[in-house]
């Protein structure tokens, strides 16, 4: 019995259709794109469906070239599966400068020149629990204040082993434009913390300089481990 040949373009588009539907389920696409760009997935889904329907009536196309084209087209779906429920973490942080969203101020001292006298105990009564997004957007309000923020933990910073960071990523369109924002702190020595653990830190925040860039630094922080708030909590959608 002759086996009917299957069209390569039809298969590739059908696989993409299924993958896009999977991304829309439980808003999984938000691990890659900002929520307001969900419509892009719907557009892709509709156009894929329309193309699939149009190809149903076409004679099947096959051959070595078609196979290569098709396999390359569906390759990203394999990597989407490999990414699982993960988000960008401390590895990506090591390749990107941390943004503070404040203008450079050359009068601030270097982190390496920290004066012990400037460190103080947090004032327990006026600690404000805020988001990292709020901290960096309204830095003037929190400069020198005691705050509590939550984020991913990175044990060290590239080139600065004595510094740790609690951070998240600002996303404009997709994860490829992720910009880390967060708070630096002296590396805690006796804590059982690993990279990408979720932590809540409490302490006084000040502006310092590191390699010529402004950074938000938390003095003598209290650190506690927490659960991941949500699947895509590492991302702050702008």
């Amino acid at each position: 019995m002759a086996v009917k040949r299957i069209s390569g373009p039809l298969v590739a588009l059908a696989v993409w259709f299924i993958a896009l539907a999977w991304l829309l389920r439980e808003d999984r696409y938000q691990l890659f794109l900002a929520p307001e760009f969900g419509f892009l997935i719907y557009i892709s889904l509709v156009v894929c469906a329309v193309f699939c329907i149009s190809l149903l009536a076409e004679p099947p196309v096959s051959g070595k070239d078609q196979l290569i084209k098709g396999m390359i087209l569906i390759l990203p779906i394999v990597f989407m599966g490999a990414a699982g429920d993960n988000t960008l973490g401390s590895f990506a942080l090591s390749k990107r400068p941390v943004a503070t969203m404040v203008q450079k101020n050359s009068d601030t001292p270097l982190v390496q020149d920290l004066d012990a006298k400037t460190l103080s105990e947090p004032g327990k009564d006026d600690i404000q629990e805020i988001s990292i997004a709020r901290l960096v957007r309204n830095w003037d309000q929190y400069n020198g204040r005691h705050i509590r923020v939550e984020g991913l933990f990175s044990k060290t910073i590239e080139g600065h082993d004595h510094l740790a960071a609690v951070f998240r990523y600002f996303i404009t369109c997709c994860v490829a434009d992720a910009m880390p924002v967060g708070v630096f702190l002296a590396s805690p020595e006796d804590m059982d913390l690993a990279d990408n653990d979720w932590v809540r830190i409490t302490g006084r925040v000040i502006m310092k300089q590191l390699d010529g860039y402004d950074i938000i630094f938390m003095e003598t922080p209290e650190i506690e481990k927490t659960d991941q708030p949500a699947k895509s909590a590492a991302y702050i959608y702008d």
Binding site: P9, L13, I72, N86, L88, R96, Y213
Partner: protein
């Protein structure tokens, strides 16, 4: 006159070298997934690769869909009527066509491919290709937002983009014939349906039903997507690898003087492959680090004209000689324009 036959579009063949390169790429990608699946670097790569593809994918689909409709519903005469007859004026008008066809750089390649097949003059096609994603109103708006409504920055981006697009369009007309610049379109010899500058047209005959034409447009769109979609994927793959492995701080470290900063930001624009609708936010993020405006502008003007995925997508339209010419001219023009901007600021 007899009705035009509706024949399926023909898919282009991959050259022998191209086939081996693509097979090598596939094998490398699969081996990488097999051996590094658990490392954080691989997961980071997978996330960035998927994100770039997912962001560009709908625009690529829409671009090929639009290309299919252009193919079937827009006749050569109708297309040429949009542009002035005089070559220089046609180039100038084409550089602004992105306002009417607001497509980003991923979607514009299949649209330009169709326009060229329909007979758009080469220089005008290049001006549209380079200027379209910058004059796009959405890109203009995103630049405004990223720079806190600094209108001068948004207009400067459009101005620089349009001037460079026009300049290179005119230069292309002067230096290249269509035969030297464009790949032979396979439909010309095998399809016979007129979808690529063959003897008959779809739009003007009016002899077939709208439903048949829509079906033909969709078939063409799907075939185009299948044909050139792989270039987007390979480009996104390389860009994701660079984003994963190369620290951005390294660019900042070398970008000490303004002219080196312009060069560094141009390299970054080519490497990151960001969508023209998002790149202004990344450019603006370099502001607090003391990156000069000329370097930020170089990033925003070059990115929509030339990056890794675009170079690969140009392979579906232009000859290698033409791609080399385009890449060289775009880089040189952007550098010179931004160096001029930098010096103007000194004065």
């Amino acid at each position: 006159m007899a009705a035009d036959p509706v024949l399926p579009p023909v898919r282009s063949k991959i050259s022998e070298t191209g086939r081996y390169l693509q097979m090598f790429f596939l094998a490398a990608a699969i081996l990488m997934a097999a051996f590094h699946a658990r490392s954080e670097a691989f997961i980071t790569f997978s996330i960035i690769f998927s994100a770039i593809v997912l962001e560009a994918f709908p625009f690529m689909l829409l671009g090929t869909l639009l290309g299919g409709f252009v193919e079937v519903f827009l006749s050569r005469d109708q297309l040429l009527r949009i542009l002035p007859k005089e070559k220089k004026q046609a180039v100038a008008v084409a550089a602004f066509l992105g306002i009417i066809f607001p497509v980003c750089e991923c979607a514009i390649v299949p649209v330009v491919r169709k326009f060229i097949q329909k007979g758009m003059p080469l220089g005008s096609a290049v001006a549209f290709l380079l200027g379209g994603p910058i004059v796009n109103p959405l890109v203009f708006s995103s630049t405004l937002v990223a720079y806190s409504f600094a209108w001068d920055v948004a207009f400067l981006r459009v101005f620089a983009g349009v001037v460079i697009a026009m300049g290179i369009g005119l230069l292309t007309d002067a230096c290249f014939s269509r035969k030297q610049a464009l790949l032979p379109f396979p439909e010309q010899t095998a399809c016979g349906c007129g979808h690529a500058g063959c003897t008959h047209t779809h739009g003007s005959s009016g002899s077939r039903s709208v439903a048949t034409k829509i079906k033909a447009a969709l078939s063409h769109g799907a075939a185009d997507f299948y044909d050139i979609g792989r270039f987007l994927i390979i480009g996104a793959f390389i860009a994701a690898a660079l984003q994963t492995l190369v620290p951005r701080q390294a660019f900042m470290a070398v970008a000490q003087g303004p002219f080196i900063a312009i060069t560094a930001m141009m390299v970054l624009a080519v490497a990151l492959n960001l969508c023209s609708e998002a790149d202004a936010f990344i450019a603006a993020s370099f502001q607090p680090m003391g990156m000069p405006l000329s370097a930020q502008m170089a990033f925003m003007v070059l990115g929509p004209m030339l990056d890794i995925k675009l170079i690969l997508m140009y392979l579906a339209v232009f000859t290698r000689r033409m791609i080399f010419f385009l890449a060289f001219q775009v880089c040189l023009s952007v550098f010179l324009a931004m160096a001029f901007l930098e010096m103007a600021q000194w004065l």
